[in-house]
């Protein structure tokens, strides 16, 4: 209900201690606009007159005055909604403009771009936040809880620190990298680190926010007020989850837009040489599919596997008698495949890449990526290989097979090929000959092998960087949502510190699940890699008691340690199986199967189980403690 301001209620300008809205905001605004125009306009004119020093001084002094004036005005007229919004936007802009314009005057254009990027991302975040608030405007209880959680995240410092981190890292990272480094390395480094840090920051924010919001509501008894209203406990938990989900979605969108923009910006920077430019343009900001080779039909790989198994059964009927398990069959097959990928001295082997019609139809080069590993060559030495693509020697020089010379051992190499080299039926036969004995003075046997899978593969473009990055961010979001569910569930029955420790423990286990499994295997080997599941389970108690009986105490104690570790890894979703960052930073397509797998296994199954558990605990929980 508005009241007229009477004589004795009028207060002096900027001296409105009782009701700040009563001051003369118009005067404040006029002075602000004039000072800003003077600050920027005069410094621009001075700069154009090649008086950079004076321009810097003018901009610095008046810019500081504008900043103070603006801050004072926002504080004074905070009660006026438009001043609050306008002031916050201009304050952030001013904070960016002062260092930005100083960087521009002093010629630090990289820093200027970085500062501009930070402001732009922060502004985008602000706009996104406004949109989310609008979306949550309808009178729905879940929306109310979600919106309050977002307010909590923004206004309580715990989450804001991580949000600021996300908004700062991406724009500043390109300018922190060594400008003398190859462009493609810098781009790859930028993608790996910006995605990694964003994911880490948001994970930490999610854990602290999810655990903190529930435990704080319980300890501060906010939950009494909320759950005394027509809000079910499931709705309350879902509202919290929705708030975190929307906040993460917004932050990932802003971070993704920043990463995309700055990756493109980096792509426009000068490259060291033509090869550097080629990789930057065709090897990183793309989505390429990797195709493994098939053996030629003449090789009859399956027949070779059967022959090998028959031979093993004959030689060692105790070990290989009867039907082989899948693991044993795969082990035998793996050895045959490895042999096929190994070239003895003067040997030639053919590798067939099929279904390449999509690669032929696009106007982009293919890449043959390989890493030769010689058996006895000293590290860093050279190996010598000759290549034929669909029968044509490569590379050629004046119509003849040009001796490829030496290739550094144990290092990845990439051959860029024209799509025209693929046959009309979409096949590319790659023949490789190990010509190592031609190396003068060679005294060693230098067989060369390629690791099946990543050691020899053909890459061709199937999409662009944008959708690939989107898929990456989607998987990251699914992982964050699992963390949110876990944090909320932990908060329903644990205190804040313990809930955080539990959630972080699961997070780190999930991220490093592959490494931990390998470490546990090294800590205590199971003795047989292809052991069926039940045998593996029974192996633990049997071995434990056997070692105790033998008096090997420490060796026995390691068994339950491994069992516990293995169990913890088993009940934790394997984030490492759904890690798209190495793919996107290497210009490889993030497969849709990985996105769907992450959504189904992490987003639906794991999050669902944890969420239901959390709800059941919360439903049974008494919210009040003894107060008598």
């Amino acid at each position: 209900m508005n009241r007229k301001v009477t004589g004795n209620e009028r207060v002096n300008f900027l001296n409105t201690t009782t009701n700040p809205t009563r001051g003369r905001w118009s005067l404040w605004l006029v002075i602000y606009v004039v000072a800003t125009a003077l600050s920027m306009g005069v410094s621009y004119l001075l700069f154009k007159q090649e008086m950079a020093g004076w321009a810097l001084l003018w901009r610095g002094v008046l810019g500081l005055f504008v900043l103070i004036w603006l801050t004072r005005g926002v504080m004074t007229f905070y009660e006026l909604p438009w001043v609050r919004r306008f002031g916050m936007v201009m304050l952030s802009l001013e904070l960016a403009l002062i260092p930005g314009s100083i960087a521009w005057i002093t010629g630090h254009y990289g820093l200027m771009t970085g500062v501009g990027g930070v402001w732009l991302m922060a502004a985008t975040f602000g706009v996104g936040l406004f949109v989310i608030r609008l979306l949550l405007l309808p009178g729905i209880a879940v929306f109310g809880v979600a919106r309050t959680l977002i307010d909590e995240a923004i206004r309580m410092k715990i989450a804001l620190v991580f949000i600021m981190g996300v908004l700062l890292v991406t724009p500043m990272l390109p300018f922190l990298l060594d400008a003398g480094e190859r462009l493609n390395y810098r781009m790859e480094f930028f993608l790996v680190w910006s995605l990694g840090i964003t994911s880490l920051m948001l994970s930490a924010m999610t854990v602290f926010l999810a655990c903190g919001t529930i435990t704080n509501d319980l300890s501060q008894k906010h939950v009494f007020m909320t759950l005394a209203k027509p809000v079910g406990r499931a709705q309350y938990l879902f509202g919290k989850w929705l708030g975190i989900a929307l906040l993460n979605l917004l932050l990932l969108t802003v971070a993704g837009a920043g990463i995309y923009t700055f990756a493109r910006y980096m792509q426009m920077q000068p490259a060291r040489d033509a090869q550097d430019r080629f990789v930057a343009d065709y090897g990183i900001l793309v989505a390429r599919r990797a195709v493994p080779p098939l053996p030629p039909e003449s090789m009859n790989l399956n027949q070779q596997v059967e022959d090998r198994i028959a031979k093993l059964q004959q030689q060692d009927p105790d070990q290989y008698g009867g039907d082989l398990s899948v693991a044993e069959f795969n082990a035998v097959r793996g050895k045959i495949v490895q042999q096929w990928h190994t070239l003895g001295t003067r040997d030639t082997q053919t590798f067939v890449f099929t279904d390449l019609l999509p690669a032929k139809s696009i106007d982009a080069p293919l890449q043959l990526r390989f890493k030769p590993q010689s058996v006895r060559t000293p590290p860093g030495e050279l190996v010598k290989l000759a290549f034929w693509f669909n029968g044509r020697p490569w590379p050629t020089y004046e119509g003849r097979h040009y001796n490829p010379g030496q290739i550094v051992d144990d290092t990845y190499h990439v051959f860029d090929l024209s799509p025209s080299i693929i046959s009309a039926d979409g096949v590319l036969e790659v023949r490789i000959q190990n010509v190592n004995l031609d190396v003068p003075d060679a005294t060693w046997d230098s067989s060369v092998s390629f690791t099946p899978g990543s050691g020899l593969e053909l890459l061709y473009r199937v999409g662009s960087f944008g959708p690939n990055l989107t898929r990456t961010l989607l998987i990251t979001w699914v992982r964050l949502m699992f963390l949110a569910t876990l944090g909320l569930a932990a908060g329903t029955f644990l205190g804040f510190p313990v809930a955080c420790v539990l959630t972080l423990m699961v997070y780190f286990t999930a991220v490093a699940s592959g490494y931990i499994t390998e470490s546990l295997e090294n800590f205590v080997g199971l003795g047989a890699s292809a052991m069926p599941m039940w045998d593996r389970i029974l192996w633990f108690p049997k071995t434990f008691f056997a070692r105790l009986a033998e008096g090997e105490i420490w060796s026995a104690i390691k068994i339950p340690i491994r069992m516990l570790g293995q169990t913890f890894v088993w009940i934790t979703p394997a984030f490492s199986s759904y890690n798209p960052t190495p793919l996107v930073s290497d210009g490889r397509v993030v497969p849709t199967s990985m996105v769907l797998g992450a959504m189904l296994k992490i987003g639906v199954v794991w999050s669902g189980i944890v969420g239901v558990l959390g709800y059941v605990i919360f439903r049974k929980r008494e919210l009040a403690r003894v107060i008598v």
Binding site: K4, T6, T18, G139, G144, R155, L227, E622, L623, V626
Partner: protein, 418 residues
């Protein structure tokens, strides 16, 4: 017994209750808190039987730790009873739908410190599925009512305890509840706020709302409650209407204007003739509450600024319709003016402000039982003769202008003709 059967019985219980409908019923309600080893640690509530009827103000009275708050938390579904049954509007307390009709003010205002007053009320409005327009209107009215409209953009964390209490009261009313549960509502409030809460309770009761009031402040309960249960050790020790519990036999009170010694002697003679005598003649003092209210009124008339809460004003318009759609002060359902217009209500109050001031002063004198009067004009005479029922005000007899006297007292802007 299945849950459906229990609910059906509860429904029947509501229907068949004699007289007024039973809104809240507890039967054999027991709450035992256990420790980690599941050993019984505290029996907070022990076999409590309670029924609260529609339209009454029911007081739960008891010292700290008597089980009042625990009972309320069980009624709200925040705690699970160890034994016994609770029926709220004929349903189980954990039924989410039931809570649409309940307003709750806990013993402390557990508000989000980072939200402003407006955002706080907006949050609770959303929990009641109110649309944006309704929320905005109600929030404006409630903020005005509790006197926090000038500081509505400040985070609640910066509020004093009394201001937080006012927001707590506003949130409890945002859904225009049929059952209002107030746990120590006047805790942390200044006398002005306390008076307003008591007036608000009586106003809401007049409009057909049911109120469950828990307090250990005896004066609060005595002033506004129809029926009272006095608890101790988790059990109800005494139960009944305020009059039943408080009426003293064997003494009478006569209040009159200033008496001369001759008049006193004459009265004494009459009483002696009737076989009794005067025990005490006293000259009442002004109550501190009234003195305080006068000082605040004077300060506001002079336009003294304050950074805290302003005095609360007229009851929010949306709260003025009765539970059955009737309007304030209109038991027959007839509408007296546009009650949705807060300004109209205030104007109505202003017209009778002088009259209500006098009435209020008289009423307080009556309530004080011989210790207060009309500014020293009256004497109170204690007498052991027959009772004079007119001198003891009854809760049901309170007139609407009298209840709303606080509105006119604390609205200096209107009083000064702005």
């Amino acid at each position: 017994m299945t849950q459906a059967t229990m609910e059906m019985e509860d429904q029947l219980g509501v229907q068949k209750a004699s007289g007024r409908e039973v809104v809240l019923q507890c039967t054999g309600l027991t709450k035992v808190f256990r420790d980690f080893w599941l050993r019984n640690r505290v029996r907070a509530v022990d076999g409590l039987d309670l029924d609260v009827r529609r339209g009454e103000v029911f007081g739960l009275l008891g010292p700290n730790g008597s089980g009042k708050s625990t009972t309320i938390k069980m009624v709200l579904g925040l705690l699970h009873p160890s034994a016994g049954r609770i029926s709220v509007f004929g349903k189980r307390p954990d039924d989410v739908k039931t809570k649409e009709q309940i307003g709750y003010l806990p013993e402390e205002s557990h508000l989000y410190r980072f939200l402003t007053a407006r955002e706080t009320l907006d949050y609770y409005g959303r929990l009641f599925h109110q649309n944006r327009v309704t929320r905005k209107r109600r929030i404006d009215e409630l903020l005005h009512m509790v006197g926090l409209d000038a500081v509505q953009r400040r985070p609640v964390g910066e509020y004093s305890k009394g201001m937080q209490r006012r927001i707590g009261i506003a949130q409890a009313l945002i859904n225009d509840p049929q059952l209002l549960i107030l746990d120590e509502p006047t805790s942390g409030l200044d006398p002005l706020g306390t008076r307003q809460i008591k007036d608000l309770i009586v106003s809401l009761k007049e409009r057909g709302k049911t109120i469950l009031l828990s307090s250990h402040l005896l004066a609060d309960v005595e002033d506004v409650c129809d029926r009272v249960s006095i608890m101790f050790g988790g059990k109800v020790r005494r139960h009944g209407t305020v009059d039943e519990l408080l009426t003293e036999g064997g003494a009478s009170l006569i209040q009159t204007h200033d008496l001369t010694q001759e008049a006193v002697d004459a009265i004494e003679a009459v009483l002696v003739a009737h076989g009794t005598h005067i025990d005490k003649i006293d000259r009442p003092r002004q109550k501190l509450e009234k003195l305080f209210l006068d000082i605040v009124q004077q300060a506001q008339t002079e336009g003294v600024a304050t950074g805290g809460a302003r005095s609360g004003r007229a009851i929010a318009a949306f709260l003025q319709s009765g539970g059955d759609g009737t309007q304030p002060g209109d038991a027959d359902g007839k509408t007296q003016g546009n009650v949705g217009d807060v300004g109209g209500v205030i104007e109505g109050l202003l017209r009778s402000s002088e009259e209500t001031l006098d009435k209020h002063a008289d009423k307080r004198a009556g309530e004080s039982g011989g210790e207060s009067g009309g500014g020293g004009k009256n004497d109170a005479v204690g007498h052991d003769a027959s009772a004079s029922a007119e001198t003891k005000p009854q809760a049901d007899d309170v007139e609407t202008p009298d209840r709303n006297v606080i509105d006119s007292l604390i609205n200096p802007d209107k009083r000064s003709g702005e």
